[in-house]
Each structure stands twice: as C-alpha cells, then as structure tokens.
Symmetry: C2
Subunit: 198 residues, 2 copies
C-alpha cells in the first residue's frame, strides 16, 4: 500500500482497513496467533502506530472479533423477497460459507467464548442474539416461527445444533454433501418448531 | 467417618469413595473451586494422603470428572424394554435430571472442554461418543435411527442442541415446563432423522 493511498484515509478509515486485514488474517489462524507484530508486518506499518489505533492487544482482538461478527451478520442477511423457507435456506448457506471461509477464527471465537473469555462471550452472545432476533423479525407474519418463549428456546438449541453440524461436517463430511448439510440445517428449524408440545 | 470404617476399605475402595465425594462437591462448584484442600477437609483426611491417592491436582480433577462422566452414562441407561421413543424419553429425562442436579460441575466440564483443556475435552468426547453409540446399538433393528453417516452427524448436532436447551432452560424456563423440555429434546431426534434429504 502506497503512502499516497494511506494519506487519503481518515483515521477511522485507516482503523477500519486494519480491522479488515485482522479479520482476513484470523480466517486461517486462532486469535492467540493473531499478534500485533503480525498485523504490523502484514499492514507494513509500525507496532507503535497499531497501538495508537487500538490501545492494546486485548482491545485489538476485541475489535477484530467484533468486526468479524458484524461481517457474519451482514453476509448472512436473508434475501428480502421469497418464500420464508427459501430465505432461511439462503441465510444458512451464507452462514456455512462464512464459517468455512473463516474457520480458524470462528473456532477460536467459539472456544474462547465457551472457555470463559468474558469479552469473547459477550461478542458471541450479541451476534447470536442478532441472528436469532432476525429469525423472528424477518418472519413478521409469524407464518413459520411464531414468537413464543418456547420458540425462542428452540432457536437457541437450533443455533447450537447448527454450529456443531458445521464443525463436525468440516472435520468429517462422511459422504454428506454441502447441499445436504444445508437442507438438514435449514429444514431442522421448522421441524423443531412444529414438534408437538404436551 | 470412623477410623474403623476406613480400615475396612481397600485402597481402591477408599480411592473410589473419595472420587464419589469429589463428584458430590463438584455438583455445586466449578472444577477450579474443587481443591485438594477442600476434598481433604470434607473427607477428614490429610492433604498428603490425598496426594498419595491421586498424585497431583490435575490427576485428581481428571479422575473426578471421569467418574462424573461414568455416573452420567450409568444413570442415563435407557430401560431395557419398551417402545423405542419411550426409552429415549426415559434416557433424556435421566440426563436432564443429572445435569440439573450436578449443574456447576457439568458447566465447568463443558466450558473446560470447549475452552481447550485437552484432558477435559477428551473425557467429554469419550462420554459423548458412548452416549451417541448407545443410540445406535440400543436401537439394534434400526427402527428409529438407522446407523448411517448422516444420522451420526445428526446425533452430534442433537447432542449439542440438547446441551444448549438444558443450559438455556435452566437459566430461564420462560414458562416451558420440564416435561415440555423433555418432550422437545426427545421428540427432536426422530424429527431430525426424518428430515428429507435431497
């Protein structure tokens, strides 16, 4: 990147660009492996300047993971039109694509969140809430998933199922195609919602 | 406990008794809170004797968690007779009872396993494999769940869903009764298995 290009960017733009670079680096590494040194080297700027933008390593990691979560939310937005189940399938397909393309970072977020890192847990919970909330608000007529306490619980369970299916499938597809995986994930939500309750 | 009682026990029996005590203490505490000091105090024996039985704190924790996992597996064994779905429901009911009765220890196992503690991860995976394997071997005719790669994946997803549902429900039942929770968990497995694949 030339000095000329850099000079055109505002500090906010420059910070944002560094976050994008951080997210790209996180795709193939765990959070522990994403050091300030590495980012400085890849960005071609000094460590000092990075500390200027992010304060410390912890804040830098937090900002990168938040950006990654925001990207996931943006990229999995369902199409505005169409049959509810087709829209759900499209959203799930985008989710699976994102996870597969950013697997190492995704796994380190999940492990960090589950393992008791409070910052990661909060970002993870916020992202999951946003994704879950979308399921209810996108389906405003409640045709597919009525907004009830039981269904809110079901969606939480479904999110955990989805996570596990993608991670397990990636390590061993066992003859299941990606299309079958998507059908399974997308189809399971209405199936869970439709289960009879006592 | 009297010295007389203690004298009658073999070292293996004594060790086993200490593990049971460890599991009971773990029901209401995280693994981090389960110290050698606490166990020594509760058992009324010296720290030195505990180190004699378990070697070090890490080995002690590992042995307690393994015992807890074995207890879970024993207590969730389905009844030998009956309709497959009724037997699944009975097994799920025992699982939920166990988790609710041993919640803090259960949570610390899951978090430790997910957070990258290799020993805990291995115990957790072993227990999950045993529980999953049981689903296929108990249903030897394959009437409910044929043993296919796809269904093995489904069972993994279902296990994650079950874990999430119990943990979420415990923190906020949101009007869902325990009986409804059990129906939801037990009913979801055949529903997931029956989903059409492309």
């Amino acid at each position: 990147m030339s000095t000329t290009t850099r000079a055109r960017l505002s500090p906010d733009e420059r910070r944002s660009q560094l976050l994008d670079l951080g997210v790209r680096l996180l795709a193939t590494r765990s959070l522990d492996e994403l050091s300030i040194d590495l980012l400085a080297e890849e960005a071609g700027i000094s460590r000092g300047l990075l500390y200027h933008y992010f304060g410390n390593k912890h804040a830098f990691h937090e900002a990168v993971v938040r950006r990654a979560a925001d990207d996931l939310i943006t990229q999995t937005a369902p199409p505005a039109e169409g049959d509810p189940l087709e829209r759900l399938l499209a959203s799930v397909a985008a989710y699976v694509d994102y996870v597969l393309a950013n697997f190492e970072g995704y796994l380190s977020l999940i492990r960090g969140a589950a393992g008791g890192n409070e910052t990661l847990r909060q970002i993870y919970e916020d992202a999951r809430s946003t994704l879950s909330e979308r399921i209810f608000t996108e389906d405003a007529q409640g045709d597919v998933i009525p907004d009830t306490p039981r269904n809110r619980l079901v969606v939480r369970g479904w999110a955990a199922l989805t996570e596990e299916l993608v991670i397990s499938w990636r390590s061993d597809p066992a003859g299941v195609t990606q299309a079958e995986l998507l059908e399974l994930i997308a189809g399971s939500l209405p199936a869970l919602v439709d289960l009879p309750s006592r």
